[in-house]
Symmetry: C2
Subunit: 204 residues, 2 copies
């Protein structure tokens, strides 16, 4: 495989997904650090050379750049044990990864970012007006995961997949966004299961 470089902010769960995927697969990954709070991913140089969308993470593969955390995880994992061999299960894994980006991350990761890093006092009126909806959306996402995990060990099939990694990233730190993990007991057991995987690395 080409040389792999992760352009990241270590506080970002989206970046951590890629690092965890690489660690579980035993793939070497170089790291380049940016501070999103200082706008380091919005500089002309970053926009021009790394990601026109001005966001991290970006996985650099040789001289090509791949934005979007879940696409980067897919790239690393293709052909390996973190992607199910069954066609329906493979699509179902992607289902949970799209759920993560649409129904989980914009609620749970955004509240964590606002409350932990920006600070409630510094939020705009428009942001403040969204807190209740994001709280409800995040709780609904955690509830859905909890019910699904009630009778099973992993989100898809009978083994860990990228779906688990993608949803682990912001779920395991959701309390920084004001969510209560103890309300979701099946989720808690699943978090422990992931943290016990051989090769697991914690978030910085």
């Amino acid at each position: 495989m080409d040389r792999l470089i992760l352009h990241e902010d270590p506080r970002s769960g989206n970046c951590y997904k890629i690092r965890l995927t690489a660690a579980l697969l035993g793939l070497p990954l170089e790291r380049r650090f940016y501070d999103i709070m200082k706008g380091e991913t919005r500089t002309p140089q970053f926009i021009e050379q790394v990601n026109a969308n001005g966001r991290i993470p970006v996985l650099q593969v040789g001289d090509r750049f791949l934005p979007e955390s879940n696409a980067a995880c897919w790239y690393l994992a293709e052909g390996g044990p973190l992607i199910p061999a069954d066609r329906f299960d493979r699509a179902d894994m992607l289902r949970w990864m799209f759920f993560e980006q649409y129904s989980h991350e914009p609620n749970i990761a955004t509240l964590r970012h606002w409350l932990r890093y920006v600070g409630e006092a510094n939020l705009s009126e428009a942001q403040r007006g969204q807190i209740m909806a994001k709280r409800a959306g995040g709780e609904a996402a955690l509830q859905l995961m909890d019910e699904h995990l009630g009778g099973r060990d992993w989100l898809v099939g009978h083994d860990v997949t990228l779906a688990d990694i993608a949803l682990y990233a912001y779920t395991h730190v959701c309390e920084a966004g004001g969510f209560r993990l103890r309300d979701y007991q099946a989720v808690c057991r699943w978090l422990d299961r992931i943290a016990g995987l051989p090769g697991y690395v914690p978030m910085d």
Copy 2:
């Protein structure tokens, strides 16, 4: 392949993606209709039997149910010409599909839904407070696509892929959300290219 049934609201671009993918591939697809404005995807029966997340589209494959539009497109297209053969390109296609669900759909599809179906006068204060941010986010997404498509025919590689289909769905009806397609000339040419594909079907 198992019998394929699309659970959908025909006004939804997310549902249309799946129908367009099936049409381009020549796959037969039965259709079941729900009216999201009447809450028909939030009934106990729908939650229990079709999708615990209370959303359409859901692709039914035999007796299994697959939510999330882009995962359903992947299921239909796997092994066929709408997914690139190259490993990096395949991940790059997923990159645009995650971009669609994170940076495009929540801005462009949501404004279309609010302005065309809900009606501006019926929006809540919290929704009204998000219009400017969603306008800016949608314009940024269209601008990014326009620059990317400036020197190429398709989003990824040298042929149409699921990335084009996913982003076509809400882009080609974005004016209902108050966006101006004439500001994005490369996008307009790309929309024409998709509408000219053999097997193309329009949105209902």
